[in-house]
């Protein structure tokens, strides 16, 4: 077991990104606050620096700042049942407290409801707070693959949005600029997919606990050259590790896959729990939520419309069953863990049914654990151990 050299590279990359955002905004570059599922390529083509409130909330949770921020928002009358990312991030906006030192205010916000409906209200509050325009991309929910009508509907909105976004930005969105950005996004996503694929090697040189952290650039820097360079480096390191037989988990005894967002307040403890029981978390539905194949530099608007109507969470439950089934088979997993995330209703709805159907199809058992992605008050390590340890033992792993 050897540490990833890229952990240090990641820390440097993120630090530079934060500094660059701050410096850029001081130099007068416009900043766009965007959701993780919004077509960031548009704002990049218009010269914006993107900022991701969801990522920011995750950082707050990992740095143990989320509870205080969430409580501030609850104090203003927002229910504890709302998404913790929203509560944490709004708390940060309203109090100005952030682990990043200072929040760089937006010049516009860009939202799509392809990940959930909450972002629509959360970003509306953000737009009101900073008195900036909000751009909203409506994406239809679908049970099967998106229809031509779905794609045309989304494409039309993107085309209509482009000149308006250009007006707030410092340069016009041209097809040519959009093509370049899309090409870089596609390249980074392709590299990222290959990075995730390395965990199918035995023993796995990389686990989803690493992926949860190393996904930061693909979320917040996709469309940039630095993002492509980062994943090229990471992929190289992982291939070397796999060739040497370096494993992420000492004496890997079982392989499992994960559904739903990471549990940030318990990320480190959970990672250690898996390690202690020699269980490799080889894949998950969270870090692989984007699809690469649609992005098309030749026809960027159609490619973006297809890509952003094909996000994991916009599909019905049957799709998740498909994704998990394929994942279990491809990564040779002996079990799966479903994180029932108190904050993310869209992601967690139907998990008990998903569990039964996936087990029936693959023959491997699953376990549901209850927690939250960012609210430590809804995360109990005791509970997580109570569920996971017997599950690991039933897979033949243990201390």
């Amino acid at each position: 077991m050897r540490k990833l050299q890229h952990n240090a590279v990641l820390a440097r990359t993120i630090r530079n990104q934060v500094l660059w955002t701050r410096l850029g905004s001081r130099l007068g570059l416009p900043v766009a606050w965007v959701t993780s599922g919004s077509p960031v390529e548009l704002v990049l083509a218009a010269g914006f620096i993107p900022f991701y409130p969801e990522n920011h909330a995750a950082i707050c949770a990992a740095r143990e700042m989320s509870q205080g921020l969430a409580e501030h928002t609850e104090g203003r009358g927002y229910s504890r049942d709302l998404c913790s990312y929203a509560r944490v991030d709004l708390g940060a906006q309203w109090t100005g407290r952030t682990p990043l030192g200072r929040l760089v205010p937006p010049d516009l916000v860009l939202v799509s409801n392809n990940i959930c409906g909450t972002v629509q209200n959360w970003f509306r509050l953000t737009a009101e707070h900073f008195r900036v325009p909000m751009f909203f991309l409506d994406t239809p929910f679908h049970d099967g693959p998106p229809t031509d009508g779905d794609v045309a509907y989304v494409r039309e909105q993107l085309v209509a949005m482009a000149p308006e976004i250009s007006r707030v930005g410092w340069r016009r969105i041209t097809e040519d600029r959009l093509r370049k950005v899309t090409e870089r996004s596609r390249e980074a996503l392709e590299l990222w997919a290959r990075v995730l694929e390395t965990a199918s090697r035995r023993p796995a040189p990389f686990t989803s606990f690493d992926a949860f952290v190393h996904m930061a650039p693909i979320v917040s820097m996709r469309g940039t050259r630095r993002c492509v360079a980062y994943y090229r480096g990471l992929l190289e390191e992982l291939r070397r590790r796999a060739d040497r037989g370096d494993s992420a988990i000492p004496e890997e005894r079982a392989r499992v896959v994960w559904d739903n967002i990471a549990i940030w307040p318990a990320h480190k403890q959970l990672k250690k729990l898996f390690e202690r029981h020699r269980v490799a978390l080889v894949s998950d539905t969270y870090t692989s939520a984007w699809t690469v194949e649609h992005l098309d530099p030749k026809d960027p608007f159609t490619g973006l419309a297809k890509a952003y109507t094909d996000i994991l969470l916009i599909h019905g439950v049957a799709h998740r069953v498909e994704v998990l089934t394929r994942m279990i088979q491809r990564f040779g997993a002996q079990g799966f863990v479903l994180h029932s995330n108190r904050s993310c209703k869209r992601y967690s709805l139907g998990q008990y049914g998903v569990r039964q159907v996936v087990t029936a199809r693959t023959g491997v058992p699953g376990v549901v654990i209850e927690a939250d992605m960012a609210d430590p008050r809804a995360v109990s390590m005791e509970h997580l151990e109570q569920r996971l340890v017997p599950f690991f033992e039933s897979l033949g792993a243990g201390t």
Partner: protein, 253 residues
């Protein structure tokens, strides 16, 4: 050559120690875990004459006791214990002090399980609270909740709400035996709902402290719609026994 080994189950309510030799139980001890779990564990080992034996620990407090051979989760230990005592069992319903679980088993191994541990509803704690409110000690449940008693419906499964509901019923002078029967029905329907997550298959056996009560077993059978048999005489010691069997296996005894 067979030698003695021990299993120690440090539960939230009781600490149980089992000593086995050649796969058979030779000694069993049970003590309250509170107020000092570490002292209870030490005392249980001393009383069982297991201080110098290899020990596998299990239960909520399993990490507290050193030195040990290994620790396993109580679900794995429970399945091993049931596998030895009732090899034909397909489902185990365990009502513990702090949680309740339904475990699908086969030949001493866990196939699947569902667990209720974020909420006191459906656990021994629920019964404890109600026993206090009704002023009926748990060892008198069978005497009070006789088969012919008609249960009063308790609609809340939440322990806090159900407690207020019971207080309300008492203040309306409803008979305590009917209330108690209602309480047992409420607990068991909660456990049955848990069972539906994994699918309950016959034969079903019951373990944990409350399984000593025939009134609980009857309510459980009704809620599940199938016969439930308690593992007697010591339903609370099955997990410690299972831990001892795992110990024997690992120590090569």
């Amino acid at each position: 050559m067979s030698r003695r080994v021990a299993g120690l189950d440090i539960g939230s309510t009781a600490t149980k120690c089992a000593v086995v030799e050649g796969g058979r139980l030779v000694q069993a001890v049970m003590l309250p875990s509170m107020p000092d779990m570490v002292a209870a564990a030490r005392e249980a080992l001393r009383q069982a004459g297991a201080e110098a034996l290899p020990v596998v620990t299990t239960g909520y407090g399993r990490a507290l006791h050193e030195p040990r051979l290994a620790q396993v989760s109580e679900i794995t230990a429970l399945a091993a214990g049931v596998g030895a005592l009732r090899p034909e069992a397909a489902t185990v319903v365990d009502i513990g002090g702090q949680d309740s679980k339904v475990v699908r088993v086969q030949g001493g191994k866990v196939l699947d399980f569902a667990m209720n541990d974020r909420c006191a509803a459906g656990t021994g704690r629920f019964l404890e609270v109600m026993s206090r409110v009704l002023n009926i000690p748990q060892d008198r449940f069978d005497e009070v909740s006789r088969p012919e008693v008609d249960p009063l419906p308790i609609s809340s499964t939440c322990t806090v709400f159900a407690e207020s509901e019971v207080v309300g019923l008492l203040s309306r002078r409803e008979p305590p035996d009917r209330i108690l029967k209602g309480v047992l029905t409420a607990v068991c329907s909660r456990v049955a709902a848990l069972g539906r997550q994994v699918g309950v298959a016959a034969p079903v056996v019951a373990t944990g402290g409350p399984a000593r009560s025939m009134a609980v077993i009857r309510a459980l059978s009704e809620a599940l719609g199938m016969e439930v048999l308690p593992i007697l005489p010591d339903p609370q010691g099955v997990t410690a026994f299972g831990a001892a069997l795992i110990c024997a296996q690992r120590a090569g005894a």
